[in-house]
């Protein structure tokens, strides 16, 4: 049974062969956002993520209800 790193090595090998663009995109990720998240506790991360999603929902709803709406 593959565990931990072995799993990811298998995924990387698969992507290298079948989907190299996805593998290349790993290097393009903004690591500062991740490092910022890792300074929070797991539950703090979840609460912040849900609050952010709700903010976006409210924003989208207000745009839709505004005269002319949004596309």
């Amino acid at each position: 049974m593959l565990m931990g790193d072995e799993l990811v090595i298998a995924v990387r090998a698969f992507l290298a062969e079948h989907d190299p663009d996805v593998l290349a995109a790993v290097e393009d990720v903004d690591r500062s956002l991740i490092q910022s998240e890792l300074r929070r506790s797991p539950i703090e991360r979840l609460v912040a993520s849900v609050q952010q999603a709700r903010f976006y929902e409210r924003l989208a709803a207000s745009r839709k209800s505004a005269p002319g709406g949004s596309r």
């Binding site: 049974m1 565990m3 931990g4 790193d5 799993l7 990811v8 298998a10 995924v11 990387r12 698969f14 992507l15 989907d19 996805v22 995109a25 790993v26 393009d28 990720v29 690591r31 956002l33 991740i34 490092q35 910022s36 998240e37 890792l38 506790s41 797991p42 539950i43 991360r45 979840l46 993520s49 849900v50 952010q52 999603a53 709700r54 976006y56 929902e57």
Partner: protein
């Protein structure tokens, strides 16, 4: 309420990613539950209290889950009083609760303890699912795993 109802479940999907430090936004909760008769009964009770009904619900019939839904193999998408809840009997590779348990970590905060799918298995599941949204998520999941290795003390 799932915890209060003594439901055995594993957090998977976007919420598992967020709990592991992946900087994404999620508004729903995906879980894989143990499909034992006792646990399915507990889950059904909690779903009833949450007013869970299948989504999308275009005809507004508010269809409720049945025991047979929760003992199958499918993905059940619900709207609840707490927002969207996706109850997955299995994820890719026909992996259910028992198969995923070795790939979980416990996240605790005060009195709350959550069993969460770990990042390597989450990456594997997303890779196997191979849907466009899963492929898009892979780079940030893999980058987060890299960063976590640099900060081993992270919960």
């Amino acid at each position: 309420m799932l915890i209060e109802g003594n439901v055995e479940f594993i957090v998977v999907g976007g919420a598992a990613a967020v709990l592991s430090g992946v900087p994404i936004v999620t508004k729903d909760l995906d879980i894989v539950h143990r499909r034992s008769p006792e646990n399915v009964a507990r889950l059904l009770l909690v779903l009833s209290k949450l007013d869970a009904h299948f989504r999308p619900d275009f005809a507004q019939r508010k269809l409720r889950p049945r025991e047979s839904d929760l003992t199958g193999h499918g993905h059940l998408n619900f709207d609840t009083t707490f927002g969207p809840l996706d109850v997955l009997c299995e994820v890719s590779g026909a992996r259910g609760f028992d198969e995923l348990m070795p790939y979980t970590t416990e996240v605790s905060d005060f009195e709350m303890k959550l069993r969460v799918l770990d990042l390597p298995m989450l990456i594997t599941v997303k890779s196997e699912a191979n849907r466009p949204k899963d492929r898009m998520a892979l780079p940030i999941l893999m980058a987060t795993l890299d960063e976590r290795k640099k900060s081993p003390g992270d919960g």
